[in-house]
């Protein structure tokens, strides 16, 4: 093997080893609980320090939205636990009951989340209103049929 060839081989080996190690480390990282997200359950369990700003995500509980001028109060749930959110300001058009939203703010001493910003996530479905209505009726029919009237 000529010196040039040996050098090339060395380079290839180094590259493979390096990329391999990097890939292993990445896999190790993904085995750890990387996804750190604040859910109402985490707030309830008191893991989070008070007075630090963070975001909480969840679904708006149906029937809990109360409006008072620009002030809005609603409950946010991750289906296991829920937290009450207060917010004053203009809500985005997509804000509605049952919708997933993200609120940015602080937790007060009373356990109420004081949001300074509310963002709505739109879902990835696109359809005309008639189709949506049709789907909704179909779902209700199915539910009725199964004996779980909504």
């Amino acid at each position: 093997m000529s010196p040039t060839q040996r050098q090339r081989l060395m380079v290839v080996v180094l590259l493979t080893v390096g990329i391999g190690i990097a890939a292993t480390l990445t896999l190790l990282a993904f085995q750890k609980n990387l996804l750190y997200f604040v859910t109402p359950t985490q707030i309830k369990s008191g893991e989070l320090p008070q007075q630090r700003q963070f975001r909480v995500g969840g679904l708006v509980v149906e029937g809990t939205v109360q409006r008072e001028g620009v002030k809005v109060q609603f409950d946010l749930t991750d289906t296991a636990n829920s937290v009450t959110v207060v917010y004053s300001g203009i809500l985005p058009d997509l804000f509605r009951e049952g919708q997933g939203i993200v609120a940015n703010g602080k937790l007060t001493d009373t356990g109420v989340f004081e949001a300074s910003e509310v963002l709505a996530k739109h879902d990835e479905n696109y359809m005309p209103p008639e189709v949506s209505e049709a789907l909704e009726t179909a779902k209700n029919m199915r539910n009725k049929f199964k004996g779980h009237p909504k």
């Binding site: 990387l34 993200v102 709505a120 359809m127």
Partner: protein
């Protein structure tokens, strides 16, 4: 084999100039036709969305330009690599002509996204994973363009900017995942519904047509840009003299 021969011939500057010149009018006509059909279907035929009403029509330009922004980057980095490894001049020309087109698609995706985000999310801009990585993509494009413009020697400029484009392509997925991960710091997957995204056929058709139209548009502009770049680069060759004489007898 015939395909290879075609590409080999195509890679000679003179043949490229000729073939590209004859392709442009046809491609341009098809692009225009598809754009018009897409706009008609998207603005008049497609019904309003059940949740977002009429505002979702921004999608028909937003989504194709976002797709194109990534696609053009891949083309740019790929041709830059070909140019660097096999020393093919035309590959460099295509890479460097792609950069401004890709940057404008990226910019368009960002602006239309912002115009869509304001009524829907309630903010012109959120530091969301998609948005942030698209913004960084724009910076990568601008970096390549700025580096290309900074050198006086064309050959050096092409190769230096090409290396940057390739370094960027390794970073695009890393940036994308890092930003996505950083964003999910704050919002759990409970929020986003992971059911398969579904779109009604009446809305899908204009979206796909517009995407093809954007792709062809890229091809047309790329060929136009690359042609004049080739002519400039080859100005010492005899065939350029012939071409000039043919233009003005």
């Amino acid at each position: 084999m015939r395909l290879f021969r075609f590409f080999h011939r195509f890679a000679s500057p003179r043949e490229f100039f000729r073939i590209a010149g004859s392709m442009i009018p046809w491609l341009a006509a098809t692009t225009l036709l598809l754009l018009l059909i897409g706009l008609y279907l998207g603005l008049f035929v497609a019904p309003p969305d059940y949740q977002q009403g009429e505002s979702y029509r921004i999608m028909f330009i937003h989504v194709p330009s976002a797709w194109m922004s990534l696609f053009v980057y891949m083309v740019m980095a790929g041709t830059a690599a070909i140019g660097l490894i096999w020393r093919i001049k035309l590959a460099h020309v295509i890479a460097m002509s792609s950069a401004p087109i890709g940057a404008s698609f990226t910019f368009l995706a960002l602006v239309t996204g912002s115009l869509w985000g304001k009524p829907m999310w309630g903010a012109w801009w959120v530091w969301d994973a998609r948005l942030t990585s698209e913004l960084i993509l724009l910076f990568l494009y601008l970096g390549v363009m700025a580096l290309y413009a900074a050198f006086e020697e064309r050959r050096t400029a092409q190769r230096a900017a090409g290396i940057l484009a390739i370094v960027g392509v390794i970073n695009v997925p890393i940036i994308h995942y890092s930003v996505m991960w950083w964003n999910t710091l704050h919002q759990g997957p409970t929020v986003t519904k992971f059911d398969a995204p579904s779109i009604h056929p009446s809305m899908l058709a204009p979206l796909l047509i517009m995407s093809v139209a954007f792709m062809l548009f890229y091809a047309v502009v790329l060929l136009m840009r690359a042609r004049w770049e080739v002519l400039d680069q080859e100005q010492r060759s005899n065939w350029v003299d012939d071409y000039l004489e043919q233009l003005s007898p």
